[in-house]
Symmetry: C2
Subunit: 134 residues, 2 copies
Amino acid sequence: MCARVAGEGDLFVGDLAVSRAYLNADQFFPGWLFVVLGRHATELYELSAPERHALVDDVSRAARALAEVFRPVKMNYELLGNQVAHIHWHLIPRLSSDPDPRWPVWRVAHEPQTLAPGALRERIEAIRRALEGG
Amino acid sequence: MCARVAGEGDLFVGDLAVSRAYLNADQFFPGWLFVVLGRHATELYELSAPERHALVDDVSRAARALAEVFRPVKMNYELLGNQVAHIHWHLIPRLSSDPDPRWPVWRVAHEPQTLAPGALRERIEAIRRALEGG
């Protein structure tokens, strides 16, 4: 995750105030986005108040952009770090077509669904436009 | 959830700046706490910036208190709302004894584990003390 923050690559969406946004390679849940803190820290209470506020504003701005593009029934926001402790949020629009709408995504077994390069670029561009408008 | 915010009862832990904290009745994952926004809203981007900052500070303060009491390997913070849209965070200390430490709690099928009244009061008191100290 620390290396990811240093790089861009095909899944990079954009820089926010204190974080960087990347699309999840698995788009089975359309729009699943990571918001990754630019510096290394692992818990919210390790951040100064101004940094924590800037981070939650980044998360909120990214969620609003996803909501504009994907029109979810509900947004899900998850800060876990069980495998990679570096602070990164999972932002997941839960659409009306969701296979298990009452529960978190983690119980839906599925094959990862990657996008073809053109569709990936289109999705990222749509999120960028919404971020810039919001 | 809106009704819960109006009430206290056996699971109530305390009032934070813009939210109220309640222990989850199911303590299979020890320390699982809800932080419930005092007023009704459903998405982070519906809040004013000062309200969002106060909420993330409440979440951070509660997480620090849980970390002090339960000494987790990692804290999990989840704002979902798939069943009850009113903003409420799941704060879940993931302990070294966790049955599935690499994954979110939702894949661990289990019988709900409620505490006897004395143990429940003790757990809530320990969290209250940590909140007051932090």
